[in-house]
């Protein structure tokens, strides 16, 4: 993203913030981001965000891991280096199950973690860039797009007049990246 002008709306509680979100989405204002000190339920529903597809990736990769390790262990113990262990047949399927389970969990977990990092474009040298200087850890913040100058702080203040946000201000965010 290039340099962007935002209108930053501050709240000190989640309830008015959610009301404001509902109001702003009704008025078809474009909301860039919502920053909260802790996860707030229902925000994703109000914003109409698409459901994450990460679990599907986890499921498929988990299945892949299960099949891979089971085939690999079968190959090891039956074809490559057959050994009789504890009087069991070479293809001792029940004894492969614990490892299959572990590798399934490993594949699913690690693949979901990496899928999340890749999708959110997170890599080791990423620095945190505050979108506004006043966004701290105790405020609930909505960032509204200026929409090419059509949306001003005045307009937002009018829309949210009865909800009474703590502060509304326009802010130019310098993009260092």
């Amino acid at each position: 993203m290039s340099n962007h002008d935002y209108i930053v709306v501050y709240f000190d509680d989640e309830v008015p913030m959610k009301q404001a979100l509902v109001r702003l989405t009704e008025k078809k204002e474009r909301i860039i981001d919502v920053r909260t000190p802790f996860p707030v339920h229902g925000v994703d529903r109000i914003l109409g965000m698409k459901k994450t597809r990460i679990p599907i990736g986890g499921f498929i990769l988990g299945l892949l891991g299960a099949v891979l390790i089971f085939v690999f262990m079968s190959w090891c113990f039956v074809v490559s280096y057959p050994l009789i262990i504890g009087g069991k047949p070479y293809f001792a399927a029940p004894s492969f199950i614990p490892n299959t389970f572990e590798i399934t969990v490993l594949f699913a977990g690690v693949s979901m973690a990496f899928a999340f990092l890749i999708r959110s474009k997170l890599k080791p040298d990423i620095r945190y860039r505050p979108l506004d200087e006043k966004i701290t850890d105790n405020m609930f913040v909505i960032l509204v797009d200026v929409n090419g100058g059509n949306t001003t702080a005045e307009k937002i203040r009018e829309i949210l007049s009865d909800i009474k946000p703590v502060e509304i201000r326009e802010s130019e965010v310098k993009n260092n990246g």
Binding site: H41, P55, F59, G86, G87, K88, P94, S95, I97, P98
Partner: protein
């Protein structure tokens, strides 16, 4: 907000019809089909255990949510409470086993002189067996009753002292339940194969109880919802019930496999004696047990969207409920009834008879008060709950 379940004549007649028809069918099979005595007694034990397990699982459900101060379940709290009403009835039905001890339990026969059983005589003798049974039931009935009384007092007085007591009592119940549920499963099920033992068995039975209780709660919620009750039950609550069913089905499979793997690997004759007849003579039921109780809830509920659809979750719950009946069947029948064990009209009719009585008790309890606990401190939380 105020919902009252009406136990209509229609429900009563249907239940009475089920009970009468299944009783008749069972009697006809017993008189005409001439099944072995051990099969009849094992049937009674099996259904006692199955329906008692649903009741105890429901009591566990309440206790574990109270001690963790969970609030989401308050909307459906009356359902597990109603299900605990069967415990006193199960007590009477369990005492009847006294007359069939010799048919089910090898160790209860006076003529047995097996060195292994002789070594276990201090635990496995008929007087102590029934002393323990009375102790378990006394603890369960009294603790569940006190929990219920205390909870009712909280509703009427709104004194937060009772809320503290509620947590304390739930903790007491959980400790007592944790010990007795293991011990009772050794007594009633594991001692059928008296020479066999498995240290994980108590937990295995406990999980079967909890999963069948969860399935029953879901089915009851579905029934009430489809009849227009439980208007406050939303898909968020269904989602959480389904998560519990899903995860505890996986946990059941974990315990099932832990028990199987160690016995299969160790290959010791005194341990494999349990699995060999079950695996070789009842291959289909053995496979069905694992498939139905693990694969069906796993693949059926793995998507979060499918966990939110009450109709779909109820179908899965119905399958797992039957699956856990089959699980108990595999634990009890091959050991107790030997060659004569099968799933026939006798088994089906006895189960229907028990379920008729069970559902009657649940419905009668539900019809006595509001379906929603109006004054529970956690009700707000449950109404606002988002999964």
């Amino acid at each position: 907000m105020d919902e009252h379940f009406i136990f209509t004549k229609g429900y009563r007649n249907t239940l009475a019809l089920i009970v009468a028809a299944s009783l008749l069918a069972a009697l006809i099979v017993i008189l005409a089909g001439n099944p072995s005595a051990s099969r009849i007694w094992a049937n009674i034990l099996l259904n006692n255990q199955f329906f008692l397990g649903i009741s105890l699982g429901a009591a566990f459900f309440i206790a574990v949510h109270r001690i963790s101060m969970a609030g989401w379940h308050t909307v459906i709290q009356r359902l597990p409470e109603a299900m605990t009403g069967f415990i006193p009835v199960a007590f009477i039905l369990m005492l009847i086993i006294y007359f069939g001890m010799g048919s089910i339990y090898e160790w209860a026969n006076p003529g047995i002189h097996d060195p292994v059983i002789e070594g276990k005589r201090a635990w496995l003798n008929i007087p102590f067996f029934f002393i323990r049974m009375v102790l378990y039931f006394a603890g369960w009935i009294i603790l569940v009753r006190i929990m219920q009384k205390n909870s009712d007092k909280l509703m009427t007085s709104m004194d937060l002292k009772y809320d503290r007591n509620r947590k304390l009592l739930a903790g007491l119940f959980l400790v007592f339940y944790g010990i007795t549920v293991s011990a009772s499963s050794w007594d009633w099920i594991m001692s059928i194969d008296a020479e066999w033992f498995s240290t994980i068995f108590g937990w295995y039975v406990f999980i079967s109880m909890f999963v069948s209780a969860l399935s029953f709660i879901i089915l009851l919620a579905w029934l009430l919802k489809s009849r227009g009750y439980l208007t406050l039950l939303r898909e968020d609550h269904v989602h959480d019930l389904a998560i519990l069913l899903f995860s505890f089905s996986i946990f059941w499979a974990y315990l099932w496999f832990s028990q199987y793997l160690l016995i299969w690997y160790g290959h010791l004759p005194e341990e494999t004696a349990y699995f060999i007849p079950r695996l070789h003579q009842y291959k289909v039921i053995f496979g069905l047990n694992v498939g139905v109780n693990f694969l069906v809830p796993f693949f059926g509920l793995v998507r979060s969207q499918s966990k939110k659809n009450l109709d779909w979750v109820a179908i899965i719950a119905f399958i797992t409920l039957i699956g856990h009946w089959v699980d108990y069947w595999l634990m009890i029948m091959p050991g107790a009834a030997g060659e004569s064990s099968r799933i026939g009209i006798l088994e089906v009719s006895t189960t229907l008879l028990y379920s008729g009585i069970f559902v009657f008790i649940v419905f009668r309890y539900l019809s006595q008060g509001s379906l929603i606990v109006k004054k529970d401190p956690f009700l707000e939380e449950s109404l606002d709950y988002e999964s």
